[in-house]
């Protein structure tokens, strides 16, 4: 177990005369025993960051510490980390037993009886005891996933690293493994860095999530903070499903006016003072359909989810999404009026995307701190 401190990490790939900056000036601390999720779109540098922590990539600049131990220039084999790969990377010619025990055999001085015992107990914990003498190719994806996990767990490493470990599983199994993985990490209490491009997974699993884009760390924080108070427009867009609705509005005193006749009257114009234009954001769940109102949009599609409906609407050229009550079934082509509270409103700088105002509605009693 260890704290991870990443300081001013830079990773540049040189290919001939071209150099690509994969990670730029990353500062990140992971607390001892914490489950940190690195999330971002493809090519954002999250996997590269993980591979730098693992020691599979050289660091161009900056340093990485595990606790008080500097590991920046150590080889992966000397760092005491365990990693679960996206496609599991099990050794095809070894049995499950050999796969799980391989790391201990190489990196520890344990007697083979002790290794065998540990492999058995990990296999039991993961429910793969009957598979111990099978080869990886005889296993299903989910079983291979468990073996890969077992291989990581048995080492009792200082740090767990997981590179999209669930993305090759089907949706149902993925949800199951998500829960199981969280429980496992909680029980083992090992510092874990988990990479995913799936924001739902990130929200669900992380103690904290770190959002990356274009090699730059955008924001780190507990999932609900990142959701409610995104640092910028990118984070607001990336976190949350369906995505936040965004449009550009002109500012005139306290009035915001957007495309297709959209207007909104701010009671607190402070965030937009001195600005002529601003990006307006509203989460789909904060939009309500109302009877009568100045803001109107045309319904294009309604997707019934069972417990709620996703209502896609057109506001001029813009698409708006609202999560509405399943009893509401507006028809395609129907013109509806919509509204939202100012407390639910997000405002971003037009040029930098920096957040000017985020959600200020009270975290409802019952899910807040009072309830604990």
């Amino acid at each position: 177990m260890a704290r991870i401190d990443i300081t001013d990490l830079v990773k540049v790939y040189d290919s001939g005369d071209e150099s690509i900056v994969a990670v730029e000036d990353l500062d990140l601390g992971v607390k001892d025993g914490e489950f940190l999720v690195l999330v971002g779109p493809s090519g954002c540098g999250k996997s590269t960051t993980l591979r730098c922590i693992a020691g599979l990539e050289d660091v161009t600049e900056g340093s990485i510490h595990f606790g008080d131990r500097e590991v920046t220039d150590l080889r992966g084999s000397e760092r005491d980390v365990a990693m679960v790969f996206q496609n599991y990377a099990l050794y095809p010619h070894m049995t499950v037993r050999q796969n799980i025990g391989f790391g201990l055999k190489l990196s520890s001085s344990l007697p083979s009886a002790e290794i065998a015992e540990r492999v058995e107990s990990v296999a039991e914990m993961l429910g793969i005891t009957p598979l111990l003498d099978d080869k990886p190719k005889e296993l299903s994806g989910g079983q291979q996933q468990r073996v890969a996990l077992g291989r990581a767990i048995v080492r009792e490493p200082a740090v767990f690293l997981m590179d999209e470990p669930l993305s090759n599983l089907d949706a149902k199994l993925r949800a199951e493994m998500r829960t199981e993985l969280q429980e496992l990490q909680h029980d083992l209490d090992v510092t874990t860095v988990y990479v995913t491009h799936d924001q739902t997974e990130a929200m669900a699993m992380g103690d904290r999530i770190a959002v990356m884009n274009d090699g730059i760390l955008q924001q780190v924080g507990p999932p609900e903070d990142v959701y409610r108070s995104p640092a910028n427009e990118f984070v607001a867009t990336f976190i949350g499903s369906p995505s936040i609705n965004l449009l550009t509005a002109e500012v005139d005193g306290t009035t915001l006016s957007g495309p297709a006749g959209f207007t909104y009257e701010l009671s607190n114009p402070e965030p937009v003072e001195g600005r002529s234009r601003v990006r307006v954001g509203v989460r789909p769940e904060d939009i309500t359909l109302v009877k009568g109102g100045s803001n109107r949009a045309t319904v294009s599609v309604v997707e019934p989810m069972g417990n709620e409906n996703f209502c896609y609407m057109e506001l001029g050229e813009h698409e708006l999404t609202a999560r509405i009550d399943p009893t509401l079934r507006p028809q395609a082509g129907e013109e509806v009026a919509f509204a939202f509270d100012e407390s639910a409103l997000y405002l971003f700088d037009v040029d930098t995307g920096e957040a000017l105002k985020t959600k200020t509605d009270a975290v409802a009693a019952g899910i807040g701190t009072e309830a604990r």
């Binding site: 020691g55 599979l56 084999s77 365990a82 790391g103």
Partner: protein, 334 residues
């Protein structure tokens, strides 16, 4: 219009073709589905039977006879009045039973050639495959530059004509040749490459290795490149050293390819013929005569001894098959 006329002519021709085709279809006996299938695959079997199966069977047949010259007269004939054909005797043969095989046991030159072939094989194949593997590993490593150039250069000897390159080896390793000149430059006594039993065999080993290392390297390199990079990363994380990665990832992953290369090289070297024939002529005093060379000499040099040569061939094929099967059994997938 001229186009209309042409088009009319075309249609008329097409109609004639169609009526011809219909007539043909009606006249030819109809075939069942399986008959058509057999008809379509028959060319292969005809060619296979004529050029592969018959020679094999006839070789085995010949091995029980003593060859006494080209046959005259006929083996049998068919006389159906207007149709008459005869199959001539290929050879004048004297049945000797297992005579050819028993005389092999007492044939010193047979044992000599077997020994020579095995000796060359036992040295040449391990050296060549070791070298090919080392080169493939080096070319597969990240740090080597100009990979393409090296790869091509190393594989190039494969395209050399066997007799041509053997001749060049003959010239290079001549007593007054370039190799001895180089040795004299660094102060080493010239070596009697062709007159010493030891060095003559090493010259053959060198020549064959030069010709085939690149070929095997390409196959091994292709095998190395199919090993997923992630396995090495997983091994790195598991704490493996460079050697342990080779031992626990590369070797087991490369095993099928390695086995293929070993079997192929063993068969190839066992069939060695042109190199000793051109470079050493089998000498000195039969020290480099190989089994295939001996078969060739029995069969075609001096008074042809086809029966005995056939028996030698049968034994040779049996030995190669046994060795290959053993290799596959030992190295094959568990």
């Amino acid at each position: 219009m001229s186009t209309k006329h042409t088009s009319d002519g075309y249609h008329r021709l097409w109609d004639r073709f169609r009526s011809f085709r219909r007539e043909l279809t009606e006249r030819t006996p109809s075939l069942t589905r399986s008959q058509v299938a057999y008809l379509l695959i028959s060319p292969f079997f005809v060619l296979f039977g004529l050029f592969l199966l018959f020679p094999i069977v006839y070789t085995i047949y010949l091995s029980f006879f003593e060859y006494q010259g080209v046959g005259d007269g006929r083996l049998f004939y068919v006389d159906l009045g207007p149709i008459f054909f005869e199959v001539p005797r290929i050879a004048e043969l004297q049945f000797v039973g297992f005579g050819n095989y028993t005389s092999m046991l007492a044939d010193g030159l047979f044992w000599q050639s077997m020994f020579n072939t095995t000796y060359i094989l036992a040295i040449q194949v391990p050296i060549m495959i070791g070298l090919a593997l080392a080169l493939a590993l080096a070319l597969n490593a990240g740090f080597v530059r100009f990979k393409g150039v090296f790869r091509t250069a190393i594989a190039l000897p494969v395209s050399a004509n066997i007799v041509a390159y053997s001749t060049i080896f003959l010239i290079l390793f001549n007593e007054t040749g370039f190799i001895n000149y180089l040795l004299s430059v660094v102060g080493v006594q010239p070596i009697e490459w062709m007159r010493s039993e030891f060095w003559a065999r090493k010259t053959i080993v060198g020549a064959v290795t030069w010709r085939w290392t690149g070929y095997n390297m390409i196959i091994l390199l292709a095998g190395l490149q199919t090993i997923p990079q992630q396995l090495y990363e997983a091994a790195e994380i598991d704490g493996a050293s460079r050697w342990e990665k080779f031992r626990y990832v590369t070797l087991p992953q490369l095993k099928p390819v390695l086995l293929f290369v070993v079997v192929l090289s063993t068969i190839g070297t066992f069939k060695l013929f042109a190199e000793p024939y051109v470079i050493t002529g089998g000498g000195p005093t039969n020290a480099t005569i190989t089994i295939v060379q001996y078969i060739y000499e029995e069969a075609f040099v001096g008074s042809p001894n086809l029966g005995y040569a056939s028996a030698l061939t049968v034994v040779f094929v049996a030995i190669v098959s046994v060795i290959s099967i053993v290799q596959i059994k030992i190295g094959g997938d568990d």
